[in-house]
Amino acid sequence: MDDYSLYISDSLNGTIAGIRGIYPEIGLVVSFLLVIFSELFFVKRIKQLPFWITLISLAVVFTLTIKQFAIGDSLTLYSGMIVLQPASVYFKLLFLLSAILFIVFVRNNQQMQQHKKGTGDLYAVLIAVLLGMNCMAMSANLLMVYLSIETVSIGSYIMVGYISGDGKQAEASIKYALFGAACSAIMLYGISLIYSFTGTLNLNADLLEGLNAIPVWSAGLAITLFLVGLGFKMSFVPLHFWSPDVYEGAPTPVTAFLTTGSKIAGFALLWRVLEAFNSSGNAISVYDFQGLIGIVAIVTMLFGNLAAIWQDNIKRMLAYSSIGHTGFLMMALVANTAGFKSLIFYLFIYLLTNVAAFMLVDKVEQESGSVNISTYLGLGKSMPLTFISLLIVLISLTGLPPTSGFVAKFLVFGSALESYKSSGSSLILWMMITGAVTTVVSLFYYFKVPLYAYLRKTESILPREKFDVKLVISLVLTFLVLIFGIFPQVITDLIN
């Protein structure tokens, strides 16, 4: 037994030393407890207390995360379980931003506020999911990867099924849960295979040697199965089936959070895995990640944009469009180091645009009760502000110049071209061409909204537009989307 005593003291010292690196996570845990506590005892007296506590705690965590920039280059903690890099700090900031926007959205969402169970629990679950995402951004160990993915997934199953107002939400949550569970089971099996082949769980050099030693197809099988779990979070092509149904069924604020928060988490994890593999020796010999991502990106872009043409339900259309954007983003991943800045910029703009889009869609649904694009007849005139900002957001999603969407796409194209110059593989060329073609196709279904709202008239009386907080927030977001299009350096100087 005594041979273990050597380790205990070391690992104890390691844990104590590691605390210094995970202040934001600790903050999240404390706020998680606070929210549950306030939900149980104080909600009778002050109805919105959980909301305010969550908001304040998120603000505190935000400042703690910004402090983390000071740690300089990467810092491995807890004997290789997690590693803290500036890249993961950026991702953490994006998660926090999407969480804050989610809370504000929930606060102004009629469906959520009228729910008899109240929204206190939702905030608690959100904080748990946020914690999981932070771990995803920092994980360096396969166990840590599995743990963080599972926390985020289980949390989001609950969020999707939170209201279960009608059959749709229940169906969405069951589909999400089953698909998610199956995928994580496959991923777990993949990890177990890797573990049994290499004997180690840490994403480092000796894992790679282990994989080199075994026959190439078995390493390939293990890694492919492992990537299935990852794909579920990012919902690229083979793993995308759940997203249209879940996004349509889930309550709009949750859909907004899923399309932005959990997708960015997926990218953060993929970035982490790629970075780990590439930095410790060349991973090409083991598994051709570039080729895989390239092909998957092309297919995802094509699928997302082409399928979206037929959609009449606005949320389903936005779901397909987010699949399309995933494909486009993977083009930035292919350019590995060069692409990081364009990846973060694109994610940030994608976050703002998507949340604004969902908020506006929710406002239209709330006031005119129409969810399908074909029922948007003539709303352009009766709800001018909403539809002008929705138009600008859609233009940004298409990627037309005055908006920041164009600058984002431009930077991704730039990084892809840069990687083409260094690697010269024609796959990247085909990716860029698909990117261009799908942008044109995307114009068509994004412009169905102004087509119905402005170009078509209707005789029925139309609702007046109510000026409320949600409209203000979406206007601010739209303004930001426009301003970052004209002065993008405000953001890019922050990322380095």
Partner: protein, 101 residues
């Protein structure tokens, strides 16, 4: 002593059985059971491989965590199934297709 590959064969067989159950069963709960089979297959692998990895006990630790998480996900899944039954009055996955293209 029994070589590691035998264990891997066993876990692979268990994994495939679980996968079969997931794909074919007409009952959501049986589907969950299938998923549990797949997770257990992974557990076998972990524990079997963990024997050789002396110092970090990686395998055992992962197995413990996985059991806990599997329990959590099943709990959530069952709660959701309960909710689905309230509306669809059936738990046949093929019936749950209101949300489609």
């Amino acid at each position: 002593m029994i070589p590691l590959s035998n264990f891997m064969m066993l876990s692979a067989a268990l994994f495939v059985i679980g996968l079969y159950a997931v794909l074919v069963k007409r009952n959501v709960i049986q589907l969950l059971i299938g998923i549990e089979f797949m997770i257990n297959a992974a557990l076998i692998n972990f524990v079997a491989a963990g024997k050789s990895d002396k110092n970090y006990m990686g395998g055992q630790m992962t197995a413990l965590f996985t059991i806990v998480i599997a329990a959590a996900s099943v709990a959530v899944a069952l709660a959701i199934i309960l909710n689905v039954y309230k509306y669809y009055k059936s738990i046949d996955p093929d019936k749950l297709n209101k949300l489609r293209d």
